[in-house]
Each structure stands twice: as C-alpha cells, then as structure tokens.
C-alpha cells in the first residue's frame, strides 16, 4: 500500500495523539517534596533522601544543588518546599517572605587549611597568623612568626601564595566567619560572606579547583572542605583554638565545637566558629534546612517534618561516614523540640 507523504504525516500525528489520550495516567501519586540550595551538604542529603525513601514509600524528594543563595531565593518565592543554606539568612530577608522561616541545623562541617610544602611537614597555625596570611601580610614561609609556632620543622624560603574559592560557597562563609571572629581587622576590612573581596591571593573554582592549585603550586595554602582535603590526601594544619590547644580537624573535634557553642539568639542561626571547648576545632560551621513555620501545603509539610526528625535521630549516623560532623545530643534534642507541630 502506498500512502502519500502528507497523509502519512497526518496518521503519525493522530496516532501520537491517540497514544497520549489513551495512555493511563502516571503511577500512584506520591507527594513530591521539592528542595533546593547548598551544594556543601548535598552528598549527605542525597544519601538521606535515598535511605528515607526506602523507609517511607509514600514520599519522594527532588533536590537541586543550585547554591545557598538560589535555595534562599526559591524558598522566598515559594518555588520549593524547603531550602538549604550554608549561611544563615539575613534578618532583612525573611521580612519580604510570606511567613516566618525556620533555620533547622542538620549537620556541621569544617574547613581544613591545606598547604603545599616540600616534604609535607606537619604544620601548626595560630588564629592571628592565619588572619595575617589571608590578609596578605605574611608572604614567605620563612616568616619568623611561622617559625616560632613550628619550631620542629625547617620552613623553607618560599613565596607563600594564598588560594581561595572564586565561586560563592558555604565553605568560604565558614572560613570568613572564623576570620571575622578572631581578627577585628579582618572583620573591619573584609567581613564574612559566601563571596567576599579577598585582600590577596588567587581564586580557584570549587573545592577541586582549590585542591588542584594547592597540589600543583609549591608554597600555596588554602582552605578546603574537610572531607575534600582528607580524600585528596593533602596535608592540612592543626589550628590553635580558643583554649590554646592545637586541634586537628575531624568530625569529632567539630562536634565538640558544636557542643561548646552557646545558643544565644534563641533560634538556631548560631555560629560555631572559634568555639570555646578544649578539643573544639575552631574553623567550623553549621548547614541549615530552611522551612516556613506555617507552610501552605500541610500534607507535604507533615511528611517533610517527619523526614527532618528522622535525619536528626537515626539519620545522623550517616553523617560521620561522609566526614560531616553529627550534632551533639543536647543540641539535637533542642532542635527536635523546636520543630513545629502540623496537623
């Protein structure tokens, strides 16, 4: 049989239409919970979603790691059901929002100060030295102040090059939050933020970019998300904390920082940088889930809150396997008690 061109086209189109019209509607409708935001905790969130979907088959998650800023914006415009952010929202932002936004701390992370020195000797740093390095004041590894705190190693005469993140990032927020706390000069000249005006050094994109620069540039020093520094086998420094001890970054020392940080503001937008505990690693920060206190869709909100409760209890065990620090029990209880009841 020969069908002329135009008619075959018509047949093709009409068969498509018929297929769409007759096809059964897509499977049983599960509530799809949409989230967007920070990329720093994404590996853990992804694992949490997968594990929780196995536990509760009636819910599905969709999370876009578009960055903290994007997460905050999308929550404000009610495009997503929850946001995720590494930096707390400013006070001014929630006022433009349709309702009060809750900051729920999920886990904490730390920045390691990784470096490239011949022979990779162990390095110790004090807060004022870290601040002066990143302010561009210490420009050579043979600086007397570095030698003073590292008497056991022979530091070479090598130009010191600061490597920082060029992209806006929660890792940068944690680091600049720390520097603003330990150096009044840093706080005055630079300040804290996910993207800042760096006084010195070169910018590299992403943790992998910073790690790549440090690896290939002798004399480089930069901050990396702890998990990244550990996985890339870069040497990283012990940093002196408030109590005067040199502490190695690890999930445990970050949890200690969390345990010793006071809940001063009444909500959970707390900074855990430069914590007072004797074993606390000072360059650490929280990452938050952002939700509306009175969400428009109650059914979804109930499911979401159940998920948050699970993350803060059973889910916490997954954190340390990915080099994130779980919340200490006392903080966890307070967060759980603060979660709103939605019926």
């Amino acid at each position: 049989m020969k069908i002329p061109g135009p008619w075959s086209l018509f047949l093709l189109l009409s068969s498509f239409l018929a297929w769409f019209a007759l096809a059964p509607p897509g499977g049983k409708s599960k509530p799809l919970i949409n989230g967007a935001g920070a990329s720093f905790p994404y590996p853990l969130y992804a694992r949490w979603f997968a594990a929780y979907e196995r536990l509760d088959g009636t819910v599905r998650f969709n999370y876009q790691e578009i960055g903290s800023g994007g997460g905050q914006q999308q929550l404000l415009h009610q495009i997503v059901d929850f946001g995720a952010s590494d930096s707390p929202m400013r006070q001014s932002l929630p006022q433009t929002a349709p309702g009060k936004i809750l900051h729920i701390p999920m886990i904490a992370g730390a920045d390691a100060l990784a470096y490239n020195l011949p022979g990779s000797p162990p390095l110790r740093l004090t807060p004022d030295v870290v601040a002066d390095i990143f302010l561009g004041r210490i420009q050579n590894w043979n600086d007397s102040r570095l030698a003073q705190i590292n008497p056991e190693i022979a530091l070479p005469s090598l130009p010191l090059v600061v490597v920082h993140r060029s992209d806006g990032s929660g890792t940068t927020y944690i680091f600049t939050d720390y520097l603003s706390k330990v150096s009044s000069e840093w706080a005055a000249i630079v300040g804290r933020g996910t993207a800042i005006r760096w006084p010195s050094g070169i910018g590299a994109k992403g943790n992998e970019g910073v790690a790549g620069q440090i690896r290939s540039l002798p004399g480089a020093i930069g901050y990396l998300e702890l998990a990244f520094a550990a996985q890339n086998r870069l040497p990283y420094a012990d940093v002196q904390n408030c109590a005067g001890n040199y502490v190695r970054p690890s999930p445990e020392s970050v949890t200690q920082a969390l345990a010793s940080s006071p809940l001063e503001r009444g909500d959970f937008r707390i900074s855990i940088a430069n914590a007072v505990g004797p074993g606390a690693y000072p360059i650490a920060g929280l990452t938050w889930l952002l939700l509306y206190e009175k969400p428009p869709d109650r059914q979804k909100a109930q499911k979401l809150l159940a998920f948050v409760r699970w993350c803060l209890t059973d889910g916490q065990a997954l954190a340390s396997s990915l080099d994130y620090a779980p919340l200490p029990p006392r903080l966890r209880e307070r967060v759980l008690a603060s979660l709103p009841e939605i019926r």
């Binding site: 002329p4 960055g67 932002l93 060029s166 992209d167 005006r197 970019g209 540039l217």
Partner: protein, 342 residues
C-alpha cells in the same frame, strides 16, 4: 527546449506522481506550502522574541543595580559583595584584554594553518587534518580547563613565564611574581579554544575561492606565494575577518576554562602574569551563591554588560567587514595587474 514532451511512462512512477501532487498549487499541496511558510516566519520571529525576552529579563534583574550605581558600575573597580559595593571595570578589562590577546594569537595561526592545508599540503592530508580540527572544536570547555589547569599552567609557571620574564622583563606586561594562573594563561586557553573554530571556517572560506582565479594567476606566471597574495587572499579577506569575529564572539563569552586558569581576582594589573577576571567568570562563580538582592542585581547587570559588549563588538566587526572590500580587496589585484603589465 519547448518541444520537450514528458515520457508518458513517467506517470506510472510513484515518485513522479507524488512530486506532482505536492507541486500543484491547489489542494493539500497549497495548504502545506502555506503552513510551511507560517512555520518558517514563526521560527524567524521566535528568534527575535527570544533575544528581546533575554534582554528584558536581564534588564529587569539589573534594574536595581542600574538605579543604585548608575554609570559608576562601569567605571568603578571595587567589587565587594559583603559591603554591597559593585564596580565592573576589572571584569570588562579582563574580558577585553584576554579576548584581544587570544584573537591576536589565534587568528594568524588559524589563517596560516588553513592556507597551508588548502594551498600547500597534499590533498590527501586535507581530510584527516580537517577532521582533527573539527574534533578539537568539539572538545568541551571544561576539558580544556582541566587540561590547562593541570598541564599548561605548571608548564607556564616553570618554563614559559620565567623565560618571558628573563628576556622581556623590561616590559611592564611581564613583571611581578609568577603564579602560573594569570590573565595570560586565560588568554592562551581561549586562543587554543578558538583556533580550531577559526581554522575550520578559514578552510571552508579558502576552498570557496573559484579555481579560475587561481588558474588565471598561474597562467600569468605567478609563484605559489603570489597566487595566494594576488588571487586567493583578496577574494576572501572580508570573509576571513568574519571568521575572526566569530572567534572573538566565542572568546568574549568563554567561561569555564577561563575561570579555571585566570586566577579570578577583580583587580586591574598591567602585568599579564597577574591574576585577572572576566565578565563571564564572575557570573559563573558568584551567581549560585549570591544571597543579597543587591549582589544578585549587580550580577544581572554584569550579564547585561556582557550581552551589550558582545553586541557592540559584533556590530563593529560587521561594519569593519563591510568596509574592508572597499578599502583593501580590489587594490592588490589592481596594483598587481599593473605591475605585471608594466
């Protein structure tokens, strides 16, 4: 010709019958014809609409920054998201300088490659090399960036830059400390990325030169070099400039690879060894994590600026192309013909 009669047996061929039914200006053929016309016009309009929508969206996003900073945005070099001060001059400078250097390096290289392939190399070589060039044009930006970061930058730092500094260190462009990542490294990676595209275009262009032109030059006793100079290049000069402009357009908007090697420092240094920043790089770096309204708005204005810069550069280049034939193209032919006759 008019006494041509179609063979009656053609009627039996299904193809002929179908063609006839399509070409008839009545019935379904006419409807399809008109439908296609509408579709084509619609597609044409949608491109314009898309461009307008892009401009409008960017303008809306940037409105706050435009109101707040005015012209200061384009002439200030202070970019501080924490303090809420935004000036785009270092990005403009970095974009122009890196693209200009890249084009300066890539254009002669591309044209030379194309000439050697079309005029000198054996024809057997042409196809494989052409395929290779096209393959290079298809390499994703991020792959170039990774290669540049791990292979090119260390080589620049250890070998090329010290060499340049040793012999040309008296120039302000090659002074200061060497990190490897720098404005020059960014320019080099852009040059490498646009070279395959410009080369590919230049080869196409050179192949379009009519054989008769070449033969005429040969017949006048021209050498290979003279054939190229007298017959080939004048014929394609404006098209070659057009190929360069396309390369420049790509250079201005090049993002990922540049971001990985340029050092991302929003300051203007005279030295090419110092880190720099481009408009596209700051967008890709800061857009995702911009939390404040003024920061976001300033980034939108950066996007608007980038679109404007690309538009202006393309328009200028178009004007240049239009003026090129009048100023350059006919002259070599004429002088040459006078020389040969005289």
């Amino acid at each position: 010709m008019n006494d041509f009669q179609p063979d009656p047996s053609w009627e039996a061929l299904p193809l002929a019958a179908e063609t006839r039914s399509l070409t008839h200006s009545v019935g379904i053929g006419r409807i399809l014809d008109q439908g296609f016309g509408f579709l084509a016009v619609g597609a044409g309009i949608s491109v314009l609409a898309l461009a307008a929508l892009l401009g409008w969206e960017l303008y809306q996003g940037a409105e706050e920054a435009i109101r707040r900073y005015g012209m200061g945005f384009l002439v200030s070099s202070h970019w501080d998201p924490v303090a809420g001060r935004f000036g785009a001059l270092p990005f403009l400078y970095g974009t122009f300088v890196s693209s200009a250097i890249a084009l300066l390096l890539a254009f002669p290289l591309s044209v030379a490659t194309a000439l050697s392939l079309t005029e000198f190399a054996p024809v057997r070589l042409r196809r494989p090399v052409l395929a290779l060039v096209d393959l290079m044009a298809a390499v994703p930006s991020v792959v170039w960036g990774l290669w540049a970061m791990f292979e090119m930058v260390p080589w620049l730092r250890q070998t090329a830059f010290p060499f340049l500094q040793r012999f040309f260190g008296w120039l302000p462009f090659f002074q200061g400390s060497i990190y490897g990542v720098s404005l020059l490294a960014g320019a080099l990676v852009i040059a490498m990325m646009i070279t395959p595209i410009v080369t590919s275009l230049a080869i196409e262009i050179l192949q379009s030169v009519p054989l008769t032109l070449r033969e005429a030059a040969w017949a006048l006793g021209a050498t290979r070099w003279e054939v190229m100079r007298v017959a080939v290049l004048p014929y394609v000069r404006s098209s070659l400039v057009g190929a360069g402009v396309l390369g420049l357009g790509r250079a201005l908007g090049e993002t990922m690879a540049v971001t990985m090697v340029i050092g991302n420092r929003p300051e203007i240094f005279l030295s090419l060894f110092a880190p720099g920043y481009t408009l596209a790089s700051v967008l890709v770096n800061e857009f995702a994590e911009a939390t404040s309204e003024e920061h976001l708005s300033a980034l939108f204005e950066i996007g608007l600026t980038l679109v404007a810069v690309t538009f202006v550069v393309n328009s200028l280049a178009r004007l240049l192309i239009r003026s090129v034939p009048f100023f350059f193209a006919p002259r070599p032919l004429r002088t040459e013909s006078m020389e040969t006759s005289g």
